[in-house]
């Protein structure tokens, strides 16, 4: 009885509110929500405004130079390795690009080899061979559990630093040299008709895609399997070599040569790059191996059994049935491993590999004293690089996702 009455009263109140005196605008939930949003934006705006103006005022007061003018000023110091021409008289802006390219270089090398190592050891975990299985477990357990910095030091100071001096280099056929200062390999320098070989290589790569499509269609029609992998390799090597032979070998080989203190000529791979790339690949590879293992284990045993009953070989079961399905689990994990690898590449500073962090946040910051600007620029670069990785991996993820019909 009492309940009924209360309900009636509420309803009446609601009616009164709807008609008659209109409700105050601030009681409208939509306007209210908008108001709160506005307040928040204003508050945040004020917060950042006061932070930034305070920083600028204080830097002025303490006599610290501000602004991005230093980017066009001459740096006056040298960088060990640069993918673009660089001299000590070039600007801090150019140092920024040199460092960025070096970071990208070591990241790409690291990601490539980490992926290869990860897939090899991840799949090896399911090998029928006891020894291979144990090696895979050992690899993961050793390299996953040792701090990365320690591994970087290990490869640099314990392995590469013990190589012989420049004058006592290890050499392979007097063409490839290895010493404490790096790996020196011969370089092919093309002349007039060298472009024919380059075109041939491009044709071979394009040919692989055509071949794959053709082989797939043929298999669908006739059931016959074409050895695509081996044919592709033969094409990539065969076509350029044939082109070179036909055009009469239009190139010279530049061999590294000991002149004075160092080897000059050819291509030099500095030990800092080797140590960092090896450490990053091996370390990240151990995590990727675990991701691959998790992916493969997520496929029900029934899939393998069904494939076997169709008479597929173990190798083909892996490459045609298991791995494509496992990719759905592996790809999201790969994404974060790749991003970690890029971020971990900043350990370059410890061994003097001239990556962005080392040459820009290290030396440039120290020489100019402009901490806010250099750190901000570097943060933005790592942010963008990782966003790009994320974007590409999401595309890949969509490609390998289950297609529902």
């Amino acid at each position: 009885m009492l309940k009924q009455k209360t309900l009636e009263q509420t309803k009446a109140a609601a009616r009164r509110n709807k008609g008659g005196r209109s409700a105050a605008f601030y009681n409208n939930p939509e306007i209210r929500a908008l108001g709160y949003q506005l307040l928040l934006v204003l508050g945040l705006g004020y917060f950042f405004y006061s932070v930034i103006s305070n920083v600028l005022a204080n830097m002025e007061a303490t006599g610290i130079k501000t602004g991005f003018g230093f980017l066009t000023a001459s740096a006056g110091y040298d960088v060990l390795m640069s993918l673009i021409p660089f001299e000590a008289t070039d600007t801090y802006g150019r140092i920024f690009i040199v460092g960025f390219l070096n970071t990208i270089l070591v990241s790409v090398i690291g990601i490539f080899f980490a992926t290869v190592l990860g897939f090899i050891f991840g799949v090896a975990h399911f090998s029928h061979n006891w020894l291979i299985r144990k090696v895979a477990v050992l690899y993961v357990e050793i390299f996953r559990n040792i701090p990365l910095l320690l591994q970087v030091f290990f490869w640099y100071f314990a392995v590469l630093a013990t190589l012989p001096s420049a004058r006592q280099s290890l050499s392979l056929g007097e063409a490839i040299f290895l010493n404490v200062r790096g790996l020196y390999v011969p370089k092919m320098v093309g002349s007039d008709l060298f472009w024919v070989a380059e075109v041939a290589l491009a044709v071979a790569i394009a040919g692989i895609f055509v071949l794959r499509r053709w082989a797939k269609r043929r298999q669908a029609l006739t059931g016959q399997i074409f050895p695509v992998f081996y044919t592709s390799i033969a094409m990539v090597i065969g076509l350029p070599v044939a082109a070179l032979l036909l055009t009469g070998l239009p190139f010279t080989v530049e061999y590294p040569e000991l002149r004075g203190f160092n080897y000059f000529g050819g291509i030099t791979i500095i030990p800092e790059l080797m140590a960092l790339a090896i450490a990053l690949s091996v370390y990240t590879g151990s995590f990727i191996a675990e991701a691959v293992r998790a992916g493969v284990q997520s496929i029900p045993q029934g899939q393998t059994e069904a494939a076997r009953s169709l008479g597929l070989s173990e190798k083909r079961i892996m490459s045609l049935i298991i791995v494509p399905q496992a990719m759905r689990v592996i790809v999201p994990l790969l994404n974060s491993e790749y991003q970690s690898l890029v971020k971990n590449s900043t350990l370059a500073a410890a061994i003097g590999y001239p990556d962005l962090f080392n040459v820009f946040v290290g030396t440039a910051l120290n020489q100019t004293g402009q901490a806010i600007e250099t750190i901000f620029m570097t943060i933005v670069v790592y942010f963008i690089v990782n966003m790009v990785i994320s974007f590409l991996m999401n595309r890949l993820n969509n490609a390998v996702a289950l297609v529902s019909r």
Partner: protein, 340 residues
Amino acid sequence: MHKKKILAFTTLAATLVTGAASVQAATLDDVKARGTLSCGVSTGLAGFSEKDANGNWSGLDVDVCRAVAAAVLGDADAVQYKPLTAKERFTALVSGEIDMLSRNTTWTHTRDTSLGINFAGTNYYDGASFMVMKNLGVKSATELDGANACIQAGTSTELAIADYFRQHGMSYKAVTFDTSDQTRQGFESGRCDFLTSDGSQLAALRVGLSNPSDAMILPEVISKEPLGPVVRQGDDQWFNIVKWSLNAMIEAEEQGVTSANADDKRENGNPANKRLLGTEGELGTNLGLNADWAYNIVKQVGNYGESFERNVGMDSPLELERGLNASWKDGGLMYAQPMR
């Protein structure tokens, strides 16, 4: 290393964000309230700032920290040492993580004018030089065309060597390391043909080699590197204290006041001695310190000459000559402004 850098940067950001007051605060009051002086030193450089097996720091740069602590707190041991790499040092100072920096730091125009810091004097006149292994067969820096150089990152030497090679039309490869220890390791492993740094550092690094007699220092001195203590810009009182603490050490040597005879000179010395040691005049009060500030420095740390001989001179493994660092009376550059 990274953690320390991040910490320094965060503190810097925090100080810059939270208003001018904290930056301008009187360092003297902070130090007195804390009871210890926080002094930035190197991560380990024989003769200049080095930690022994018992955790005690010593060296020419450490003695400047000790002198300031003696002047301000009356106790040369009331110092907290913060080991910093060349890259971290200025950020640590500007952020207020340390009260002063005494870490073989070269006084240059750019640093003095654009980093928000002030150099409080020179406690060692140095110049960049080269160290090579004897078996390389090099006798002069002009023979180093095409060679590899081991350098510590973020130092003024990095700039000096680029200038030198450019000027002489020679090329080189710079392999830069974070700490002087890593630089030495790189040199010893043969990664570089020569190691370049300030002459005094080379002497110290050479002593640290597994076989010092294998290496030699080339005769060329390619730059001017006046090293000295540094303070934050914007606190003139503190700037004066550090400047005059160093001057007191130099002046004491000039006057012949040593840790051994300071007590005697305080009572029976000439007027200049008495002014320096606080029995006459108001030098201490003007700095905001006690009258016996310089007495404490000389008594507990010693004069500049004593400090030099003990840490880097003939009484030390470095065996450096006084050279430019002799008192002006003996033909050197060490010259204190008049104490009056």
